[in-house]
């Protein structure tokens, strides 16, 4: 549970001095703006603009020379591999703030959004540095991830003449993980968003049929005038053109008319190999559904099967068949 009462008051008082604070360290580009990094970036991003990578094309462009993609701005001052291995400057007030959150149980961190503005195109040889200010810390919020606080920072970028060339804002959520941190990363997203089967689109002509499935019945549409059965449902009888219809419930008994064993591609939410059959129902219409609990090699055309309505994932009921 998140801290509350006096403990929360004390904690939030400790946060106040950080608002408006420069984080105390300057990020300085380790290399001047250069063609090699630009080319690698463009290849990775699939950006084929000649002004970035082709000196001839760039010469003929409005820039008159090679320039860097504006969206690369932050790349020029990133810390490289050291960032990933956790090395950090002890003077860094932003890191200090994060440690304060960690100590009070808000160990989770997730970046939520960024805004950027570019003052000018960067040219080869430009030397970039950046300073960062903690602009604001939100009040406590209940989010989908848990209770936490949003931290907003603004980073301003300068060139070798100390002229500003752009800025970016960055917002992160520091939140309280309910589960141990290590397990959360690996398991929580999968459990929360376990893929489900594709659901049917529901509209006037088919919603009633799916409602029947919810009630545990495999329905067959029936013409109220000529009594002909039809499936899939449609608004008019092809035999007598009557728009009046009702429905009957199938016994679910049938035989396999044809079937397939789906092995590829594996769509999330389904289990493979997946057997799907066209079944001749004893009422005379056909129905397409999964055949369960039979080895794919044992499924045969002509096999007697019995339908039942079952949950096929966490949310959806479907008629499925088993060997009768």
């Amino acid at each position: 549970m998140a801290i509350s009462g006096k403990e929360r008051e004390d904690f939030e008082k400790q946060l106040e001095p950080y608002v408006g604070l420069d984080i105390g360290i300057e990020d300085r580009g380790r290399d001047p703006v250069n063609a090699a990094m630009v080319r690698h970036w463009c290849e990775a991003m699939g950006d084929h603009c000649g002004a970035y990578t082709d000196a001839d094309q760039a010469g003929n462009s409005v820039h008159g020379e090679l320039v860097a993609p504006p969206t690369m701005l932050q790349a020029w001052i990133l810390g490289g591999v050291g960032m990933a291995t956790g090395e950090s400057d002890p003077r860094d007030k932003q890191k200090e703030l994060h440690r304060l959150f960690d100590a009070h149980g808000f160990t989770g961190v997730v970046a939520t959004n960024t805004e950027q503005e570019y003052t000018r195109y960067l040219k080869m040889g430009d030397e970039i540095r950046a300073t960062t200010v903690i602009e604001s810390i939100s009040e406590q919020k209940a989010t989908g991830l848990g209770i936490g606080y949003f931290i907003n920072t603004r980073t301003r970028f300068y060139d070798q003449n100390d002229d500003e060339v752009g800025w970016l804002t960055f917002r992160v959520l520091k939140f309280e993980n309910e589960a141990p941190a290590a397990a959360t990363e690996a398991e929580a997203p999968a459990a929360a968003g376990r893929p489900q089967r594709l659901k049917p689109a529901l509209a006037h002509d088919n919603q009633w049929w799916w409602d029947c499935v919810e009630q545990g019945e495999l329905a067959i549409q029936k013409c109220s005038d000529c009594q002909a059965l039809r499936h899939p449902p449609r608004p008019m009888c092809g035999e007598c053109q009557s728009s009046d219809w009702e429905f009957v419930f199938s016994t679910g008994q049938g035989t396999i008319h044809s079937y397939v064993v789906i092995r590829y591609p594996e769509v999330p939410g389904y289990t493979y190999p997946l057997v799907v059959a066209v079944v001749d129902l004893e009422e005379g219409t056909r129905f397409v559904g999964n055949v369960l609990d039979v080895e794919p090699d044992d499924v045969e055309i002509g096999m007697a099967v019995q339908a039942s309505i079952e949950l096929v994932d966490d949310e959806m009921k479907l008629p499925v068949f088993r060997r009768a």
């Binding site: 689109a201 529901l202 509209a203 002509d205 899939p232 008319h257 044809s258 064993v261 056909r286 397409v288």
Partner: protein, 389 residues
């Protein structure tokens, strides 16, 4: 005005992009390049074009392509639905336009980033609630959502009824691969396939294995259709459209016509075939080579029967001794087809049909008076017979 489409239009230009797995450019760029190539091949300029037609599934609008290529005023534009079933339906549209004077010169095109962009093998899913989505909703929840799975359902029943085996399907793949090996445009150029490789390949949707399924391709193909009179003044020998037709059958669904009395009846293919023979006055005996739509190997067999090259249920016997190969009774998919050249929704097959009439295929049969070109199976479909002027 004529009463049929016999010899009322001719294909005078063909063009295509390279076929690849990652074109690196937009579908509009591919469409524009293929149209430009077809117009040049016809000996025309964009200013001569006044009609454009493509598939409903194409993402490049007629007027977008027209602007890109520099085509001016258009008096005819249209779309044909149902995926690969439109492969010759678009030719039907072009022939109708030219025969009625609605347009003088129609460019037909199809462009897709079928591998690097939206892949049909990945299945159908959400979208606006149209009658089409309601239709797929009968199959998506059970996982039946790829072209391979729909065609496999009919193929399983066909094999059950006829005794056709996977090795019989392999002959379609091997014959076509033999052609692709000689075709520099083909993905499988200089890459032969053996029966053992076919039989040991992984299953995609049983009974269809990897090599029974067409490729996914980035690329575009286009052709130019004009009147026979206009064709006389152009540099290439015209491929006359001797007949062309479209059909949808009773109890037709798009790819899932599973509720017909017989799952293996394909009344729409039968109906296209009947019209092709009636309009042209020809019979299967008059056909020297064929481009038979081959999204999957099995549908080539179905069509050989519907078009009357053999009796129903006997296609495996018909092809067993090499009928589809060069020197056989009906050299088929001499470019390698969509299994082995490229999957451009059948438009690359239309261009191969023209090459066969011109005598310029990389697997050119000696006799080439008449060539059959067909379209997708399991959907409303189309077909045509090409001949010499």
């Amino acid at each position: 005005m004529s009463t049929t489409l016999k010899d009322e239009a001719a294909i005078v230009g063909i063009g295509e992009t390279e076929y690849s797995k990652n074109s690196g450019r937009s579908e509009l760029a591919l469409a524009s390049e293929a149209c430009r190539a077809a117009i040049r091949d016809a000996g025309l300029t964009p200013a001569d074009i006044d009609g454009m037609t493509t598939f409903t599934m194409d993402t490049s609008d007629e007027i977008e392509v027209a602007r890109a290529v520099g085509v001016g005023d258009l008096t005819f534009f249209s779309r044909t639905p149902h995926g690969g079933g439109a492969a010759v339906g678009v030719m039907h549209q072009a022939a109708l336009a030219v025969a009625t004077g609605s347009a003088k010169a129609v460019v037909v095109y199809r462009a897709l980033n079928g591998r690097s962009g939206a892949r049909y093998s990945q299945g159908v899913s959400g979208g606006p609630t149209t009658s089409d989505l309601i239709h797929w909703s009968w199959y998506m929840p059970s996982g039946l959502m790829t072209p391979a799975s729909w065609v496999a359902m009919v193929t399983m029943r066909y094999m059950h009824e006829t005794g056709c085996t996977s090795a019989d399907l392999a002959e379609v793949c091997l014959a076509q691969r033999e052609h692709a090996v000689k075709n520099p445009r083909a993905f499988f150029y200089q890459k032969p396939l053996t029966l053992e490789e076919h039989q040991s390949a992984r299953a995609i949707v049983e009974p269809l294995g990897l090599y029974d399924c067409c490729q996914e391709t980035d690329g575009a193909a286009a052709c130019v259709v004009v009147s026979p009179e206009m064709a006389r003044d152009l540099p290439n020998p015209p491929a006359m459209i001797r007949s062309v037709s479209q059909a949808a059958g009773a109890h037709q669904e798009s790819m899932t016509s599973f509720y017909r009395p017989s799952l293996t009846d394909l009344p729409e293919v039968d109906l296209v075939a009947r019209q092709c023979w009636e309009i042209s006055g020809l019979t299967p005996d008059d056909i020297d080579a064929a481009v038979i739509y081959d999204a999957f190997s099995s549908i080539v067999l179905f069509q050989l029967e519907s078009y009357g090259f053999c009796k129903k249920g006997e296609a495996a016997d018909f092809i067993r001794d090499g009928a589809l190969r060069l020197g056989g009774r009906l050299p088929t998919n001499t470019h390698g087809g969509q299994l082995s050249e490229a999957y451009i929704h059948g438009m690359n097959g239309v261009n191969e049909g023209v090459r066969l009439i011109r005598g310029t295929s990389s697997s050119q049969p000696e006799k080439n008076d008449h060539v059959l070109v067909t379209a997708g199976v399991g959907i409303p479909t189309s077909g045509m017979i090409l001949g010499k002027a």
